[in-house]
Chain length 640, copies 2
């Protein structure tokens, strides 16, 4: 049989290039490229939404009946096609028009990670088993295991304990049929000592797993080829539990009211993840039944809710989790729709509100193996902070709120097309320059922009240390609407929403509270360790907005301590990156348990200085200006 | 929608009551009650054997066409119905008339066993766990495991791997509630590294398990306190699969016809065992939920049918089982109603038709550890023979038929009250002495008695070497009825059935075939090992009738080779004894896998001398009289 040759597709305007099997649809190729395309039918050819323009019409299949029905004659003449109907026959360039683009929400789906040796828990081994005969009356199972043992021995893969090999009764009951229908040519799916599945023929290459990061507000799923360690599909959704409250505490309170509520939170979460898995599987052309394992991370509350475990005691003093250890349970037990005998592994949690996502952050940054004293911040609705090195790590969690993700901000939004992501205020003229995501007309502000605005106002003397915006007649951008003062970032004529885009006094307060929470967490850990900011050799910043933030401005408003800027490194979504590392390497799973033991949890609210530190930190940059000597210098100059 | 209400059926004369779903047939209800009913068609409505009398005719469905065809007008008028045609609509009493009853026999429930160190797989450990506080915020699970570890370390129980401790997600979800309701005073149920249950308070003493022997015709269940190793309840039933054929081959043929048939054989078996478990639990006052493990043995076909595994390839050349190894699966997976997280362990099987029961026989007799060359016969509908010592064991299986258990014998019956179990025929006067079970009036003959009669007739010269009964005018006990000659064992006046009890010419033929099959099996194994009968230092005889047989007569008719009588030892039901040993000792489980490797299976039908040996062995005692020198001496004297 001829193997289909690969073709190269370039997606525009992304400039993303992907190599795929000849003959697959553009719809499938989009996913393989890690991009998204609008569709309501998932590629079934009924919605007509996945329009693309093919730049080399001779490199794709002919226009189908479906397309003639769903596209107008003008569209067809203009070279538009439906991605789900168009098969790629040769190298080509595909333009995705604005109306077909999704993922306009820019959830940061990728993260910095450490290189790890490929050693997935699930292995696929192709077997050619000798058929039974009167001279060879071994049982089906022993026959299979004997062949398997010989192959594994030949590959010199660690010391295998075949005596302990396990198989489910139900698979065993089907084994005789499968083996004979496949004429004894099968691929065995092995997870540690358990045989999870017997597939017909040689399917060694199709070995898939999932890495899942359950955040308080978003869920990211990676589909990974665990043989090769590469991500072949990415998908993300808002956490459907948002319906029951934006922050963790309100969900825990809801769960506490009745067992039904707890089950409901569990159910919507699992349903949401299943829908995401279905989508990613469809997009990538991978059968869900061929996914044998998922590694899941999330904060302690998400971890418990995912497993359907009681969360009552997380919310009540002394705030103890039910379980901290790494767990390995059947996917079926938690209701995850992958192979029916597949497994879900949850990485260990650290305690209180620092969960498995924190462990994954550490795994991905390698902080726990470092000699240098480093700090790691995973900024989100809850912000986890870690401080330490390979000898000991302190951790805590701060309820920073959603301001840095655009939540509770008047014109706040996620970092999607049209969101202003960077703002510069000219200190003399108060003129404003800004940059939007994908250079589109501004429609709102994302967290990094609000930080820039607050820093800019402070730098220009338009705001005082308490965060109060100063009204000045010569500054037309500052005005009072009703009772509230606000600063205009973009005038109505410039925006795509027929309105001025502003930062209000209340928005500034939100930012002050959020940055105070995060700064306090850092300073208390430093106190506990008895160190000063300059002792910290590296600060990793993880989180969904991470790569866009200005370090200078973050320090200027007192979100980060004053350290040399080059010590700060943005690492993106390290939670999912760490989960992926654990998915493809058993060594990393082992490491995750060691990481857990290395980390001590600090309950911030129990620290006697917490209250005072927090209040002092709400000032800009801080009540104790000596903690920010350079900012102090600058402000002193401006004031004089 | 209305849920079908349950109805109660009382089966008479057993006095057994069962609650079932309204609308099921009496045939199905019989199984649920753990009883049996005569049938040749398995409830298909073609044989007309499953007659019952309904005491409340208004509580069942109307008479069907099938019943009008298969029952006579008198029977219908007398209130007789077919169990498979009659659906239960309300509470009712059902009388099972004698001709429909199965399961009235004396099943040998105990067996010889080896003493083993108590080391059950399931352990219960009482814990007083420190409560959480602000100074001790360990997670519930870690808190429990820490306490557990300390206790186990103190007891110095082998090297435990706590890192690998497992727990089901569902138990974990309930753990916080259980722990707090019990005020942290709990007993943990541990099986290897898995926590199966958390019970309130100290329940260390209540640690129960089951040993289950699934025979072709009977099932025996032991309820065992695994802490102490003692049997606290015994129960047994006829194998409900008897409805689908008496012998293994007819059941395998039935199973082969469709997947539904296979499932049906599995279902009636599991239902029957569950009914037995329920009964034994009730009798012993033990909650089924407190039973955490069952060790199951049975021949290869029963083993596969119990697990719901395809049996097609056992019945077709080259006769390979699906699996031979020891299996450990969740009880739930096979449908066994013990604790929902409990386990079922099936001991390894040897191959072909020598199953886990054979392994248990060896464990119980210790043959596999002996220096002496020994032989073991487990006599039943299928007879397993083992020959060897600690260095190597040969095994085979002979289709001996049910004659020795009273089957296919005109007045044959199981060893129940009134069965003649011993017969002595005065060689000079031909007068007969006999002994019945419980000294009651004779109602039939059990296998041991038929052996005695054949031996007695041979000793008296009333039967020739070919098994032909000699008619002699002076012997009034020998007579011809129709075309068949028979020997009267008990005259009508003496019996409890208002009939003479006889052994017919056909009965003698049945015994000849059965003993020939068993002798051939023994002789072929001896040949393979190159030994003579006198080299065998011990012969163990296991089986349901074993303790009642006369060794002298067994040798005289050629069932056993001529060895000194004192070398023969009756060991009873060693299959269940071996299962019990494995239940209370992990060491024995390990041993069972070594036993399996030690035993080689010989397929008798493939032995070139099988045919000739079998035909020669049908003579009394054998065509080659020199194999039985003492019997030869005696017979020569009698003939002269």
């Amino acid at each position: 049989m001829e193997r289909p040759r690969n073709v190269r597709i370039t997606f525009e305007p992304y400039g993303k290039r992907v190599e795929v099997e000849r003959g697959i649809t553009i719809f499938e190729a989009v996913t393989k490229a890690g991009l998204g395309i609008r569709s309501e039918c998932g590629g079934l050819g009924t919605c007509g939404k996945c329009k693309v323009r093919i730049k080399d019409p001779m490199s794709v299949s002919e226009i189908t009946k479906v397309e003639r029905n769903l596209l107008s004659p003008e569209e067809l003449r203009g070279g538009l096609r439906l991605a789900c109907q168009t098969c790629v026959l040769g190298d080509c360039r595909v333009y995705v028009p604005p109306e077909s683009r999704i993922g306009e929400r820019k959830i940061l789906e990728v993260g910095f990670e450490q290189e790890v040796p490929l050693e997935p828990a699930v292995r696929k081994i192709h077997l050619m088993i000798p058929k039974p005969s009167l001279n060879d009356v071994r049982a089906d199972y022993e026959r299979m295991i004997d062949t398997l043992s010989r192959i594994l021995e030949a590959r010199v893969w660690q010391c295998e304990k075949f005596d302990e090999m396990r198989i489910s009764c139900e698979l065993l009951a089907n084994a005789p049929r499968i083996l004979r229908e496949a004429e004894w040519d099968v691929t065995v799916v092995l997870r540690d000592e358990e045989i999870l599945e017997i597939e017909r023929g040689n399917t060694e290459r199709e070995n898939y797993g999932l890495a899942i990061d359950i955040g308080t507000s978003k869920i990211v799923v990676y589909l990974v080829n665990v043989n090769e360690g590469n991500v072949i599909g990415v998908s993300s959704i808002e956490n459907p539990q948002l319906m029951f409250g934006e922050d963790i505490m309100s969900r825990l309170t809801f769960a506490m009211r009745s067992h039904e509520n707890l089950s409901l939170l569990n159910k919507v979460l699992i349903d949401g993840i299943n829908a995401t898995i279905e989508e990613i599987a469809l997009k990538s052309g991978v059968n869900r039944e061929k996914i044998y394992e998922a590694v899941v991370v999330g904060n302690t509350a998400m971890h418990h809710l995912f497993l359907g475990i009681e969360t009552r005691y997380l919310a009540l003093s002394p705030y103890v989790p039910v379980v901290r250890d790494l767990l390995s349970v059947r996917a079926k037990e938690v209701g995850l729709k992958i192979n029916k005998r597949g497994y879900v592994v949850t990485l260990p949690i650290i305690g209180g509100f620092v969960g498995a996502d924190g462990v994954a952050d550490l795994l991905a940054t390698g902080l726990h193996k470092s000699n240098e004293l480093s700090m790691l911040l995973d900024i989100g609705t809850n912000t986890e902070v870690f401080l330490g090195n390979k000898n000991e790590i302190l951790s805590c969690s701060a309820a920073s709120g959603p301001a840095f993700e655009g939540g509770h901000i008047k014109f706040g939004m996620k970092a999607v097309a049209g969101a202003i992501e960077r703002v510069f205020i000219e200190p003399e003229t108060y003129e404003v320059k800004y940059k939007t995501v994908r250079e589109e007309k501004p429609v709102g502000l994302c967290g990094s922009a609000v930080i820039d605005v607050v820093a800019g106002l402070l730098r220009s003397g338009l705001i005082d240390v308490h965060g109060r915006i100063r009204e000045k007649p010569e500054v037309s951008r500052i005005r009072k609407v009703g009772n509230e003062v606000e600063f205009v970032v973009a005038w109505r004529e410039e925006t795509g929403i027929d309105e001025d885009i502003t930062v209000t006094q209340r928005d500034v307060r939100e930012i002050q509270l959020a940055k105070a929470a995060i700064y306090t967490a850092q300073i208390i850990l430093m106190k506990r360790k008895g160190i000063k900011p300059e002792d910290i050799k590296k600060i990793f910043i993880a989180g969904a907005f991470g790569s866009e933030i200005s370090v200078k401005n973050a320090i200027f408003i007192g979100l980060l301590p004053e350290v040399p800027e080059e010590r700060v490194k943005f690492v993106g979504n390290t939670a999912i990156a760490g989960a992926k590392m654990a998915l493809i390497s058993k060594k990393v799973r082992k490491e995750s348990r060691e990481v857990q033991k290395l980390v001590n949890y600090v309950e911030l609210s129990l620290d006697p200085s917490f209250q005072k530190e927090f209040i002092n930190a709400t000032e800009l940059p801080h009540r104790d200006l000596d903690r920010f000597p350079k900012v102090k210098d600058y402000l002193t100059k401006v004031r004089n």
